[in-house]
Amino acid sequence: MSVDWKRFTFLLVAAGGAGLAWNALSGRGFAIGQSVLVEAGDELLKAPAAKTLLDRGALFLDARPRDFWRMSRIPGALSLPEEEYETTFGELETRIRRASAVVVYCGGYGCEASHSVARKLRERGIPAGILDEGLPAWEDAALPLDREPRS
């Protein structure tokens, strides 16, 4: 007895097709073409567009845990970790409200912190863009990073 490759292929195609059909028809599915982290009202910015804003004086907020910000950050970015939002926002509020534009970022497409912080800012009446796919996308676009250690 050997593997029947037609059965094998049919199994994979049928199961994959069932998954796509379930996603489309069950009411539990989601849009496959974009991140599931994106919700209505989120403003995503590709890295080059974010760099343009940076050059125009936008304020960048790093939503990663503070130790990551201490190691490296987008130039001029302030640390506003998601888990410390309530305690840190007050310290930064004046600077954030004075900024011409605000962009939040975190550690990549799997990181939800930038979405969460941007929504919390919106709730306070501060529009904030989100760097699409986070710091790795910024680095992939060969944009500058500040690697000076901070305390």
Binding site: L11, L12, A14, G19, S35, G108, G110, E133
Partner: protein
Amino acid sequence: MSAFLRHPRLHLVLRLLLGGFFAYASLDKIANPAAFARIVYQWQIAGPVASNLAAVTLPWVELVAGVLLIAGAWKREAALVIALLLVVFLGAAGSVLARGIDVLNCGCTSVARTEAPSSWPPAWTRGVGWFLLTRNLLLLGGALVLVAVEPGREEEEGGPATAPASV
């Protein structure tokens, strides 16, 4: 050793174990595809769109292959699919560990994101770590037996021989 690997009861146990595990593992992911996609993102393997496709299709592959194994239909093909899934999962887990990414819930059997420390199963079985690698290697060994070894007939392996029907 060869006789042991060919024993039909070993094959039955492996089919039920692998089929049951993968069919069970698929259910929560099928019920909550977006939550599973969030977990796949944390593995940081393939970008959001490819992760979405994996999150939508892989649980169904697990379910269909698992049910076929339990039912005893297309056994070798279903076992090969599961073996390939396990190779992919092992490679992905190795990549996650090598990059130092902390994945608290691998999404293997559940998509729950935050669970109480006392909840079952324990936290060390849910993350990407040595438990996951060891378990998947054992499951892969079982799947490869089903793919590569022809099971013997029950009476050949010392099991109960079927008596000829008396007239």
